[in-house]
Symmetry: C2
């Protein structure tokens, strides 16, 4: 099995590295004082350190359910399975569906593709357009595979979001073909204009909706979840249990305590949206100035700008950049087939304007070499 | 897939339940003040909340390696892979060895058997004797399977420990047959008389040694590890990464900080040994008094007393006990074949003397019904 390019290079970065590579949230925005306070409170109770339930800490499940219900997507704690990050959520679902077929977007999240391969799934790819996947291809593919994995909000790596129309179409097709969709939503809360309504909300009995606190709060806590109909969730519990008994209890208790002040969480998300939106704007301005040949569509949320440096082999380019402590992810990493060699995914959340300017100029100089 | 009896009943206990079931450490012994202090210190540094390396936090790996080296088993951080509890360690190794054969003890740890089944392994069982497994059977079995899973120290569920002689024999056989052993050691530090030398130490190139902080420190932190030769560890990293990216960072940082005061950790372990030893003695005294027909061997460490109530179907018994809020695990749960229906595993670490007395008397009264 191949390791992820992103995870491997993460292990070779140092304090001088300018990284546009990983989907790292900006550490300066972690609500560290509040989490510290929560840690103190929950560590007054020994149950925060004891074994817990395989499905997750009940109070946290209730709070996550309430976040959905408040958004108009009726959900109770029995619809929630807490996982060790949404990476594990993907593993649990695909392990349960091992040896089956799955429809995914081209390009797609590397960690998902790894897990589908690990579970010996037969992957069928469909094209992405500027407003979501190719509906005709989706219909053809899902009719056969009966299971799809998509990232409709600020997709990783492309930054693309599905239009409202395509969301309706996808939901109808899933329902009509009696299929299931895994809707991965790590970036949904990081919108710069508006929040999209999930596809899962339209088809609650045919969907696994994956959420995570990694991008909006803190990744090291490794708390993600699956929101699904109880009937879909039930067979997954034995898998979760066999895989790691239960998700980290201390993190669950801390997050539960943190979420008790829902205004604090809302303010925090608003702050992130504002700052990331500004960072995206700065990144795009520098891109236009320093690398005007880079073709891209400005994202409406999330953490990435994806585009094309016509005719440049970006895998070769990143290997040169590595030596000068600049990193990005070449597009080839996100393809299974029909690989395009001149594409790049830039992360814009984790660098200062000075780093962006310096980093892009280093890339520019190495293109010319 | 079947869920674990223990995990399922754990979800049905309440504050009045007298539980001799799970392998729950005694919450009163968690070093909660020290962990609280550590949480405060590490939350001054945002890296405790950021994404981390798939193999684990380097400083923590170094500290775990040092614990081995100090015990005379030379180990560096590159021999350590941090996992989300040793349950995940078992899953990673058996996933890498999926569809292969494995030799295990009869009886064995339920969570391990679940994971071997999940990974479609063909399980071959060998008998346990009072001083470890049947060596003749072990030799025959491992010659075919080339991989074994054993728990030599205060075995779960039987409480049995391997003699020094059998440890030497097992190591020789593993080496001579060019096989591998997964040595699971969650209870090794909870000894009442002496610490056993691991089998892995005798065959460092042929062993995966699994350790955990769940039993000696706090289970909710979900920090376990695999200690193995680099060549054995290397292919596992891609699995770990695909499964959950990396283990909870905050827990790793907290434990790393806690372990900086190694005397504190040593004192804590000594305290646990002393108190659990006393609890075991009390439990056995009450057993002899209340249920004199219960046949067992007094354990020399760990968390369990295992034995036999001749002629009693203990699965039926526990279902009656459940209604009176008393729990234990019937032996049948730990068997794959040749099931004995009149055996029980009692956990002795998590109840007060009054609870033990009351609980055993309830069991006694329900036996007579």
């Amino acid at each position: 099995m191949k390791r992820s390019f992103i995870r491997e290079i993460l292990e070779h970065t140092n304090n001088n590295t300018i990284s546009f590579a990983g989907g790292l949230p900006n550490a300066k925005l972690f609500p560290i004082e509040q989490l510290k306070k929560s840690a103190q409170v929950v560590l007054d109770d020994t149950s925060s350190l004891q074994y817990g339930n395989s499905t997750g800490y009940e109070k946290l499940k209730e709070k996550i359910a309430k976040l959905y219900s408040d958004d108009g997507f009726f959900t109770t704690s029995s619809n929630i399975l807490i996982t060790s990050g949404s990476q594990q959520a993907l593993d649990i679902i695909s392990r349960f569906n091992s040896n089956k077929n799955i429809t995914i977007e081209t390009l797609s999240y590397l960690g998902a593709m790894n897990v589908f391969n690990l579970n010996n799934m037969d992957i069928n790819t469909i094209n992405l357009q500027d407003d979501g996947c190719d509906i005709k291809q989706f219909k053809q593919s899902i009719s056969k595979t009966k299971l799809a994995y998509i990232i409709p909000d600020f997709q990783n790596p492309t930054g693309i979001s599905y239009s409202d129309k395509k969301r309706e179409q996808i939901a109808s097709i899933i329902k009509d073909t009696n299929s299931l969709v895994i809707e991965d939503s790590p970036y949904s809360e990081i919108y710069f204009e508006k929040k999209f309504e999930s596809i899962s909300q339209k088809i609650p009995k045919n969907s696994y909706h994956l959420g995570s606190f990694s991008k909006v709060l803190a990744p090291s806590l490794r708390i993600g979840w699956i929101r699904a109909d109880e009937k879909l969730l039930e067979p997954l519990i034995a898998y979760k249990e066999a895989m790691d008994l239960h998700t980290n209890g201390l993190s669950q208790f801390i997050l539960n305590n943190y979420l008790e002040d829902i205004n604090e969480f809302e303010n925090h998300k608003n702050k992130i949206r504002k700052i990331y939106s500004k960072k995206m704007q700065i990144f795009c301005n520098f891109l236009d100035e320093v690398l005007p040949q880079f073709e891209y569509i400005k994202p409406k949320g999330g953490m990435f700008v994806y585009g094309r440096l016509e005719g440049i082999n970006t895998k070769e380019l990143v290997n040169k950049c590595l030596k000068d402590d600049v990193l990005f992810v070449p597009g080839v990493e996100f393809y299974i087939n029909n690989i395009k060699e001149d594409e790049i995914r830039f992360n814009f959340t984790n660098s200062t304007p000075a780093q962006i300017f310096k980093g892009l100029n280093i890339i520019k100089s190495l293109i010319k070499e």
